[in-house]
């Protein structure tokens, strides 16, 4: 009994704290502002994949516009979109496209059409432990590893001897179901008709996936390319078995030759105005896109830049 109520209490008090700080900060700074369109606080909630990126934007934006404070919260793409619809966020960060029913709900709830901005590209890398001799996989093999009814359950079935993993079992590390990464990986690797195989280790963050794989010689996991770290190796991926093997690099992401590459989005309710518009302009400009590259994602390709 205590569990449920605890989480609700926690959520309620957390949102109250957030609101009170946001509101009071907005209010106390109001006199200094001439543009009162959306206050001087921009609240961004959403994708866990993007939380480092959005945080880096928030910090860099301070030098560009010191009077504006950008508040960043993670939680997952689904959370961000829900917050946008409920009015507790000004911008939602999402690593997947908004679903049709979320669009409808936003429209009926607020009477405004959500606007989508592609602000970066990301490749989903497939990580294994650094001692794993495996170098590459095809999307079909990934589907057999992660998909419901898939036949591949041991490293030896992939033709490698993973000597650090004594029992030869492939431990599938994934994300929990609120994650945009989870949804996108299913869409591209498993297709519309296939479920994930049950029994994967579901982690709550992109970083957690990489951290767990780096500590587990039997593990395989998917996460954003920006989360590559010391103890893991990103596999080359081919679209078809026997096709060209491609590493998750910025060039391969832009050209589309890497199979599991996606766009990252920011969403607003209706056409952005005031502070939000200025922030989005900065994000898509040279400074904002430089931050994208620094954090490890791929800037949006602009013809002629």
């Amino acid at each position: 009994m205590s569990v449920t109520t605890f989480w609700i209490d926690l959520a309620a008090s957390a949102s109250m704290v957030m609101c009170s700080t946001a509101c009071s900060a907005g209010k106390s700074r109001q006199p200094a502002s001439t543009q009162a369109s959306s206050g001087l606080v921009i609240r961004i909630t959403g994708s866990d994949t993007m939380v480092n990126l959005v945080q880096a934007w928030a910090e860099n934006y301070k030098t560009a516009r010191p009077e504006v404070s950008v508040q960043v919260t993670g939680g997952g793409s689904g959370v961000g979109i829900a917050d946008l619809i409920n009015g507790t966020a000004d911008i939602a960060a999402a690593s997947r496209e908004m679903k049709a029913d979320e669009m409808t709900r936003a429209k009926t709830h607020n009477g405004m059409e959500p606007q989508e901005f592609t602000i970066a590209l990301d490749a989903l890398a497939v990580y294994v432990h650094k001692d794993n001799p495996l170098d590459s996989l095809s999307v079909e093999e990934l589907s057999e590893i992660y998909g419901e009814g898939g036949r591949i359950q041991r490293w030896s079935q992939l033709g490698v001897k993973n000597s650090a993993c004594k029992r030869d079992a492939i431990i599938r590390v994934g994300r929990q179901n609120s994650s945009g990464t989870y949804a996108y990986f299913r869409e591209v690797v498993l297709g519309d008709k296939r479920e994930y195989k049950l029994g994967s280790i579901d982690q709550s963050g992109s970083k957690d996936v990489v951290a767990l794989v780096s500590r587990t010689p039997c593990a395989i996991g998917y996460s954003g390319m920006a989360f590559a770290a010391g103890g893991v190796k990103a596999l080359k991926i081919s679209k078809k078995k026997g096709g060209p093997m491609v590493s998750p690099t910025p060039d391969a992401t832009i050209s589309g030759s890497y199979a599991i590459a996606r766009r990252l989005y920011l969403y607003t309710l209706g056409e952005p105005t005031g502070q939000t518009q200025a922030f989005l302009g900065w994000v898509l400009g040279l400074d904002g896109q430089k931050v994208v590259r620094d954090v490890g994602f791929v800037p949006v390709p602009v013809p002629g830049r």
Binding site: V3, W7, A11, C165, L198, G199, S200, I201, D202, Q203
Partner: protein, 308 residues
Amino acid sequence: MTPSLDRRAGLSRRFSRLGEPAVEWAIRLCGWSAIFFVFAIFFFVFREAAPVLFGELDLEEFFTSVNWRPDSTIRPQFGILALLAGTASVTALAMAISVPAGFGAAIFISEFCGPKAREALKIVIELLAAIPSVVWGFIGYMVLNPVIIWTTGAPIGINILNGGIILALMSVPVIMSVGEDALKAVPDAYREAALALGASRWQLTTRVLLPAAKNGLLAAALLGVGRAVGETMAVLMATGHSVQIPHGVLDPVRTLTATIAAELGETVVGGTHYRVLFVIGGLLMVMSLLVNLTADLIVNGVRGRPNT
């Protein structure tokens, strides 16, 4: 007497005339409010769960299917069998470790050690209870995980064994302090009589004290079960959070509580997934209610019977 002292004395007299009933009422309110809150929580959880509980939720699938796919775009499935198995297996392992350990600690502290060691041990073991559960989860995830991989050769170290050890460490203080109280409640006349008949200390403990205190000790174990079933954060991190029926202690599992914690934040308020999580919450409430009720009945059984 100075005027100010005089006034103060008058104030305190007036306070005792007016204040005492007020304080009495405030205290009474504190007592009754607990009942109000429990019922309010029951009502709230039930209200959120009711629409699917009496509607679209297929109760047979709910209890018998292992497929927990709440957000599937193909066909959402709400089967909690694997989650129930997860909760049951982790709790069972935790109890298998913590009940003997907790009872052992209780027996040692109440019967075998000197007064100084007793104080020190009690303080330290009760400190275990003060460690936040997220810290326990972190220890499971960061420390125990590689140790389990290294010692057992398991493919992954966050599993039932890890969660069971962490939960056992969290339950030991509860079991120990309630168990020690139960042993303390055994009258000294029993001890003196047994010793006078020539029983050794070990015979005294196993043949006299344990039978005499068995109801209290059972209540201690059940309180430990309640603690283990309801624990969330530590098991979320230490068990691997993986939906499957376990085949051994080295398999990762997912518990009911961890599922609520991980998923409630992202669900659409009022949606089916949201309501099903509340059904699970209600189920957990019923489970811990039953455990607490059993423990209570047992303890009252002890009190109801004259001890000497």
